[in-house]
């Protein structure tokens, strides 16, 4: 059933295939982020309570929501790598981790800058903020575990187990505002009577998807470098390096 996939598990083909996707994903990400951000920052109406300050939502919510999606992506790759021992999946997981960490950091920083003028504080140890901070630490743990072993098969196994264990944090982040009372407001309602007005919701969704595509493109770029780094001794990589003018 999965036989057709097997050729793509070969590093050289994966490298080429990723190379084909990168320009398209990059262009798509730039277009979406430009549209969503301009629309949100300039054309969306102000909020009745928060005025223009709420506009940080167009960065904060996409970053926060995609920091979780990226983690799930990384954990799935790590699971595949662990069970089927496909090295490419391990490398993919290792490529996503630093990008996820940066996105999580962006979510925390934008949240903090939004919290100061609106709530009156940079930080409060409520369930939502704390669990998102734990997500950053999980990403950092995965990155450092993968970096601390010379043997990358072992490194991927250690980092993979941590990423799989850490998945439990994702539903906690997501539902923290429903399960416990917190300073952080609930999730944005996409549908229903009290749904966000389309003038705000559409650019927000465009930016959320844009962040997703951007993370995809960046991960593929790192994925390609990871393939090269792990296959430095292979003839095809040497040929590639020679063709690019290496000495």
């Amino acid at each position: 059933m999965w036989k057709w996939l097997h050729p793509y598990a070969e590093p050289q083909r994966a490298y080429r295939l990723a190379g084909k996707f990168i320009p398209w994903l990059s262009i798509l990400a730039i277009l979406m982020l430009l549209t969503g951000t301009t629309w949100g920052m300039v054309f969306s109406p102000t909020d009745y309570q928060q005025g223009d300050s709420y506009r940080i939502i167009f960065v904060h919510v996409p970053a926060a929501s995609m920091s979780m999606s990226a983690y799930i992506g990384m954990a799935i790759a790590a699971f595949i790598g662990l069970v089927w021992q496909i090295k490419l999946a391990d490398w993919m997981a290792a490529s996503i981790a630093p990008i996820g960490a940066v996105i999580t950091f962006i979510a925390l920083v934008t949240g903090s800058t939004w919290g100061k003028p609106m709530w009156g504080t940079w930080w409060v140890w409520d369930a939502r903020l704390t669990s998102e901070l734990v997500l950053l630490f999980l990403y950092l743990g995965v990155i450092s575990l993968y970096a601390s072993f010379e043997d990358k098969v072992l490194a991927a196994r250690a980092a993979g187990i941590l990423s799989i264990v850490g998945v439990i944090n994702i539903p906690i982040i997501k539902y923290s505002v429903d399960w416990w009372n917190s300073l952080h407001q609930g999730s944005i309602k996409m549908t229903g009577k009290t749904a966000m007005p389309p003038d705000m919701l559409v650019p927000l969704v465009i930016n959320i998807l844009g962040f997703g595509v951007m993370i995809g493109a960046l991960s593929l770029i790192r994925f390609r470098s990871e393939i090269l780094a792990r296959n430095g001794m292979r003839p095809w990589v040497r040929e590639l390096a020679l063709a690019e003018g290496a000495k």
Binding site: Q49, M118, W119, M200
Partner: protein, 161 residues
């Protein structure tokens, strides 16, 4: 699927399920301790699940809605007092002596940290505004009868604070 892969699949799946079970039990046990604040009803009647009731002199956070018409301000200083209530009917009076966040107003959410000085009496050292997830343009809010008046301070109040 060969035997070794199957074994790894079972191991990895057990890991996921095991961690999920442990985490659920942990969160279940911790449950109400993970709340950021007491609601006014919990201060009056105790927590629903454990019956824990904060004592006078405890340093706690309370969260709820600022009761409409309960705001009393000293014209000469920043001293302010207001009532915080929740849907379950509890009410607590909060006194505070500093600048309030911009979003603070009657009928809206607030989280106050301070010392319980008497039954249903909180002397706050920090008051934070809690807003909800309903974002809307001002026209829509006006049509729904919600509007927002920012707190105004006189020169005397600023000097007295």
């Amino acid at each position: 699927m060969n035997a070794r892969r199957k074994k790894r699949l079972v191991l990895a799946s057990t890991l996921v399920v095991g961690v999920a079970v442990v985490a659920s039990l942990l969160l279940y046990a911790l449950n109400s301790n993970l709340n950021l604040f007491y609601t006014p009803s919990e201060i009056v009647n105790g927590k629903v699940d454990t019956g824990v009731k904060p004592k006078v002199g405890d340093r706690i956070r309370i969260g709820g809605m600022v009761t409409e018409g309960s705001l009393v301000r000293d014209p000469k200083s920043l001293h302010i007092s207001f009532a915080v209530h929740d849907a379950a009917g509890g009410q607590v009076t909060v006194t505070y002596d500093d600048l309030l966040p911009d979003l603070f107003r009657e009928g809206q959410g607030v989280v106050a940290q301070g010392v319980l000085v008497g039954p249903g009496q909180l002397e706050a050292t920090e008051v934070l505004a809690k807003h909800d997830e309903n974002y809307m343009p001002p026209e829509v809010a006006a049509a729904m009868g919600q509007d927002h008046q920012k707190m105004q301070y006189t020169e005397e109040q600023k000097a007295g604070g």
